[in-house]
């Protein structure tokens, strides 16, 4: 459960400081600080609307924060102001790949085409090489024989595994998961979580937004609990999920563990 990389001296991969974001006069993120060590899994939890998705989107520049900074170790650093453009934020995207709640696969492309699109069109890798890699990644998640199917021919769980493979194929230094199992039928959740767990064990660095607290406890090195745009509590999963200090965390965890 705890990885070697969880030690304090693990290299920092990503440091986000003072992320602030408003939509109109609605302040969605107040001042978010996050730090992720190489190989670490950070689970972001919190009530719906607390700003988890917005944090993820700020980390890859999909959303432009009004203030704050995102810095990758040996990589790009972007200091955001209200004048930062999409183009300036784009450098962050070469570092991370995102897995969406509703997959967002490309419906007009086959599974294989979905996976190689980024490597071939963006990273300009050789097509044959990209295909070989895509095939082995698909085989890993048990979807080798689906390579020529279209997304609509797959179940939700299969689509999400393709979504994960599409992200992996880019060889990012950071994986961002936004509630990857929230849209799935309950019996399909396990297949996807198993893949994420394997990736965590392999040493991928990831930020995972999830409501699956048991899973978060299993894979995460650190839990960050957010509410109303601020980090309320953070720490080791055993502490935050078992013996939370903050009252809001206590209520949230209690509600998720005892839904009735």
């Amino acid at each position: 459960m705890s990885h070697a990389s969880n030690s304090p001296e693990a290299t920092v991969l990503l440091k986000a400081t003072g992320l602030q974001k408003s939509f109109g006069d609605h302040e969605v993120l107040t001042s978010i600080d996050l730090q992720i060590g190489k190989g670490q899994v950070l689970a972001l939890i919190g009530p719906s609307g607390s700003g988890k998705t917005t944090v993820l989107r700020c980390l890859n520049g999909l959303e432009i924060p009004d203030g704050g900074e995102v810095a990758f170790d040996k990589g790009p650093t972007v200091s955001f102001t209200s004048k930062t453009t999409q183009r300036q934020a784009q450098v962050l995207r070469s570092q991370s790949a995102m897995v969406f709640q509703n997959y967002n696969l490309f419906p007009h492309m086959t599974v294989l085409e979905n996976v190689i699109e980024g490597p071939v069109r963006v990273q300009k890798r050789k097509r044959a090489e990209a295909i070989a890699e895509a095939e082995s990644l698909l085989a890993r998640v048990g979807l080798a024989e689906k390579r020529d199917q279209y997304p609509h021919q797959l179940s939700g769980g299969q689509q999400q595994r393709v979504g994960i493979v599409r992200a992996l194929a880019l060889k990012p230094s950071l994986l961002l998961f936004d509630e990857p199992t929230s849209a799935l039928d309950p019996e399909l959740v396990g297949d996807v979580l198993r893949v994420i767990k394997e990736l965590a064990d392999e040493g991928w660095t990831m930020v995972l937004v999830t409501h699956e607290l048991a899973f978060a406890r299993e894979v995460a090195d650190e839990i960050v609990f957010m509410d109303q745009g601020v980090v309320v509590e953070r720490g080791h999963p055993d502490v935050v999920l078992r013996a939370p200090q903050n009252e809001r965390t206590q209520q949230f965890v209690h509600r998720l563990l005892n839904p009735f």
Binding site: L62, Q86, L105, F106, H108, G118, V122
Partner: protein, 221 residues
């Protein structure tokens, strides 16, 4: 009234020739150029820049708010008075292209907007630029939505090219007019011309169906 079948058969080839040398190439060329204009106008309308968006909006409004025949006359009979004299063919191509550009722009804009926002974001997160996302992800998906309305635009265009007869382009309808004037068999010849337009449009409808089926490969039914 007796039908002069000999005249009918004798005029079949000349009118068809008018279609092959006039109607069909005029339609095809104008449609292709018109689509390019339409795509440009659609993207301009969608751009965040208020001035650019306004220009596109004004263009679309002007094209849709004025009769095609008047547009044709402005270009062929109007432009020479300010020193720009164009031959019948180029005049017709310009008028029809601009016209298609105005109508198809709204179709393409709507089709682009029908693609879920998540597709743009998925493109961005795999590192694509806006342009690459548009070209590889958004337009191919928008195309599926746009095929039926654009087919309508194309079919309308084929019929509208008969207006080119008034600016002296030799196409199917002008041929028919000549034969009718000569033979005085107006009913027969104009019905014959109508039938030829109908056949062309039937073929186009079949093409539309095939195209739609191809695009349906990737959507759940």
């Amino acid at each position: 009234m007796t039908v002069d079948w000999n005249l009918f058969l004798d005029s079949l080839w000349p009118i068809t020739q008018g279609a092959l040398k006039g109607t069909i190439p005029l339609s095809l060329i104008s449609f292709v150029i018109g689509l390019a204009i339409a795509l440009l106008m659609a993207l301009m309308r969608l751009s965040g820049n208020a001035v650019i968006s306004f220009i596109a909006r004004a263009y679309i409004s002007a094209i849709r708010g004025t009769p095609l025949l008047v547009q044709l006359f402005v270009i062929f009979y109007g432009l020479p008075s300010i020193g720009v004299t164009l031959n019948p063919w180029p005049s017709a191509v310009i008028a029809f292209s601009l016209n298609v550009g105005g109508y198809a722009a709204e179709v393409i804009r709507a089709a682009i907007l029908s693609v879920p926002k998540g597709q743009w974001e998925a493109g961005y997160t795999i590192g694509m630029s806006r342009t690459l996302t548009l070209r590889r992800l958004i337009l191919p998906q928008a195309a599926r939505v746009a095929v039926p309305p654009l087919s309508n635009t194309f079919i309308s265009l084929v019929k509208d090219t008969s207006l080119a007869s008034v600016v002296l382009v030799t196409e199917a309808f002008r041929k028919a007019q000549e034969i009718a004037a000569f033979s005085q068999e107006f009913m027969l010849i104009y019905i014959e011309a109508a039938l030829i337009y109908w056949v062309i449009c039937l073929v186009l409808s079949m093409g539309q169906t095939r195209l739609e089926r191809r695009f349906d490969r990737y959507v759940a039914r």
